[in-house]
Subunit: 186 residues, 2 copies
């Protein structure tokens, strides 16, 4: 059967070694039978005006998303209590497009505890704002989307937070996606 | 012509007066020709186990999203540099489902400046993580999604940040959606 294309969403594009991280993820995908597609594009023309550059990045990302069969999203929290904003838009897009959504986080801390920590470091804009507390890894729409799509959310199996750029949990997630999608497709 | 149904996404569900806020948004929608559908559900059975409760909320939200013709998303930053995580999943879902995406923020501060402030209050997990700086209101996937879908992003017109629960910019956004969608549908 043909290999599936996996869109490799995440704040990985902001890493100082983003190109190497993208290459490492693509190699892991290949080991598990996927063609990994990374939104990191080292060939972007950075000399164009900002207003053209961001629109080109968006158009490139949307084209890649349309060409992919599934998403493997890095949901490790980024600059706040939750996952990276762009990654979440992409995750929602895959659910809306009817494609499977897989995700992982290198962070093992409960979302409610992270929300409390965020609130302690930067007070909420109003008193009395609720903290979502369902014992989940992030806002319920995220595990809900993964479950609804037939995908999975993979966390550090020993409950110990990994380094932000660790690929250990990504590989577990990629293996889970392969087990799920290639088994289903037989 | 029939009235369009607008899904009223946002961290408004976490407000201490969430029911009143939902009612106020639905009233504003009615003035602009929309039937507002709020994910805030005061009739939830809170006695069920957490694992059943969050799945019911997700299923209810997804059903409402499917019944709606557009989303009007509150993208005011919530517990971090970016918009609320659940709202972003919903925003992406509407783009993936081919429905128009409208959004607003009560915050007038540039995303790059908010990212720097977040990083100052809570250091990044690794040194050298880039700050996205395109002069936008949030991660480029958000204005990209709104523009791609034929929607719009509405910010405080005078560049002054409003209160977190202000409905002034929401009303401008709702009026923009009405102008766009009812004009297009004639």
């Amino acid at each position: 059967m043909p290999q599936l294309h996996a869109y490799l969403a995440g704040p990985d594009v902001f890493l100082p070694e983003a190109a190497a991280q993208a290459a490492a993820k693509i190699a892991i995908c290949a080991r598990h039978g996927f063609i990994g597609i990374s939104p990191f594009n080292p060939a972007l023309d950075l000399s164009q005006p900002k207003s053209a550059l961001w629109r080109q990045i968006f158009a490139d990302d949307l084209r890649m998303m349309r060409e992919c069969d599934l998403i493997i999203a890095n949901l490790t929290p980024f600059r706040g209590a939750s996952a990276d904003a762009g990654t979440l838009v992409e995750l929602g897009w895959f659910l809306g497009a009817g494609k499977p959504v897989f995700g992982y986080s290198n962070n093992a801390v409960d979302f409610a505890a992270r929300s409390q920590a965020q609130r302690a470091a930067t007070p909420d804009p109003l008193p009395g704002l609720a903290v979502e507390d369902f014992g989940l890894a992030d806002n319920l729409m995220i595990p809900g989307a993964l479950e609804q799509s037939g995908g999975a959310l993979v966390l550090p199996p020993d409950g110990i937070t990994r380094a932000f750029d660790s690929l250990e949990v990504f590989e577990l997630c990629t293996a889970a996606a392969a087990g799920q999608l290639y088994r289903l497709s037989r």
